[in-house]
Symmetry: C2
Subunit: 302 residues, 2 copies
């Protein structure tokens, strides 16, 4: 009955959820969670973190719980969405039974509450071997005025921008910003507030500026020209090539028509290039233009 | 770039999704999926299947894809919901790369379409060891008139009913009804149509009638008295005790006031007991009343 013990702990801890979050009608403990929505559309995202891929064994429980929740929230930010609720599924290996499983789910629930994205349901499965797997699914609602921002709307003539700094996310010994980053939810909504329909296309940087700019270009049917001298390098990052390839920045990359504030929600915004007709993503410097849409971080190829 | 190859295949296959399902605004390929909702609330469910726990290695891909999608749909049925969209996350072990991964995602997408629950997003992660893990998250909408049916509403004086037959789901060699069951979506909605507010509480049978009746009793704050002679036994099931303990029936267990049709959406409905004041779930026979809320199938303890 270990699974039921764990679930009983989850239900006890969640018993105030419907009072704490007015839009939650039924949280953990039923066949489905019930969540009220204030918009005629919802935003959906699912994301996994796998031990050995997205975090090293021995990472503190609180940090991996935070990363598990923050990653799909970064995707929600890319759509300029507001979180409503999260679901958490875990495959627990023998090292993660009993008290440690309770700690993990407490940490997930605590992080989710902190983002006003209450954990309303989940699933626990046991495995005798293999990595710990956490799968977080998020439901959100789009910006009421701007609607959902997708990757599809970039137009020739737009400028290309990033929030924050790029590269160096893994830091020393793997315990860098990739574990502690702040999903750019407030920044994205401030951009949607300020720019409205001028905010044409947006995504979050997860696999490196090179690959991701290429994806934004492909989705919009345009070409991205990135100015090598304009990229705001992360702390300790030596060289633009490194910044282009490093993954897990979790910053926003967006295309907008016209001027954009230099700071949104306290985070700097930097113009890094422009959108032109064509395809692909190139890094432009004094040495010419180099295709970079194949350069980045492939979680699958490690 | 194996992950991107897989994703490109998924995007190509999904390119007609927005035409095929009018409520899908943006499917796979963006940071979030966008789905239109016709109700002010959504139903949410996430569920995992893990190789060695929920299916044996060597199970045909089409069958495990079907089980992965059908399980959370059974929970949605328990809430009398209608599916809107699904998200699929997979942890792929070395045996599941390349063409086999394409087949798996094609199968998941095909099954999801068949249930009018299009796969609008997902995530792929690689692992060097451990079991294949599939996590399916479902968004649905409640019955327009009855609203979400939960486990909480059973009242003393209600009758207790099940759809279909109970027990024997694993069949011969593990390839039984647990892989081929039909989620009772149509039956649940027919019950909500017909009974309206008289449909007090409902759940799906996943861990055995004993454990699950105990859960329904606990959620509603009542006691369930199951009549041993009334349980409709699955094919080949010898004895009521076996039927009570067998898991993965994926039938509906519900409490309702008054009479219920003997057949809904083509599936027989059987009165198996009654709801009284108190707690727990007991099996009542000529030999007396036996507590059965601890008897069932614990996926975690295997």
């Amino acid at each position: 009955m270990r699974e039921d013990d764990l679930l009983a702990h989850v239900y006890r801890r969640s018993s105030d959820l419907e009072r704490a979050f007015a839009w939650v009608e039924a949280g953990p403990g039923d066949d489905c969670a019930v969540v009220r929505v204030g918009q005629p559309r919802v935003l959906l995202k699912t994301d996994q973190i796998v031990e050995g891929r997205h975090f090293v064994a021995g990472t503190p429980t609180a940090m991996l719980a935070r990363k598990a929740i923050a990653r799909p929230l970064s995707d929600l930010a890319a759509a300029a969405g507001r979180p409503l609720a999260a679901l958490a599924a875990a495959v627990l290996t023998p090292a993660w039974r009993g008290e440690r499983a309770n700690e993990l789910f407490d940490a997930l629930a605590g992080v989710a509450r902190g983002f006003a994205c209450p954990l309303v349901g989940g699933d626990i499965a046991m495995a005798e071997s293999g990595p710990l797997v956490l799968t977080i699914s998020i439901v959100g609602e789009p910006h009421a005025a701007r609607g959902p921002v997708t990757r599809r709307g970039a137009l020739p003539g737009d400028w290309l921008y990033v929030t924050g700094r790029v590269g160096g996310s893994f830091g020393e010994g793997g315990l860098g910003r990739h574990l502690t980053f702040e999903p750019r939810l407030a920044e994205a909504r401030a951009l949607a507030d300020t720019l409205g329909e001028r905010l044409h296309a947006m995504m979050d940087l997860s696999d490196g500026l090179g690959i991701d700019a290429g994806r934004l270009a492909r989705a919009s049917g345009v070409r991205m020209e990135i100015d090598a001298g304009a990229i705001p390098l992360g702390p300790g990052v030596e060289g633009v090539e490194r910044a282009i390839r490093d993954g897990e920045d979790y910053e926003l990359l967006f295309a907008a028509a016209g001027e954009v504030p230099g700071v949104v929600a306290g985070t700097p915004v930097t113009r890094v290039g422009r959108v032109v007709a064509g395809s692909g993503a190139v890094l432009v410097s004094a040495r010419g233009a180099v295709e970079v849409s194949g350069q980045g971080w492939d979680h699958g190829a490690r």
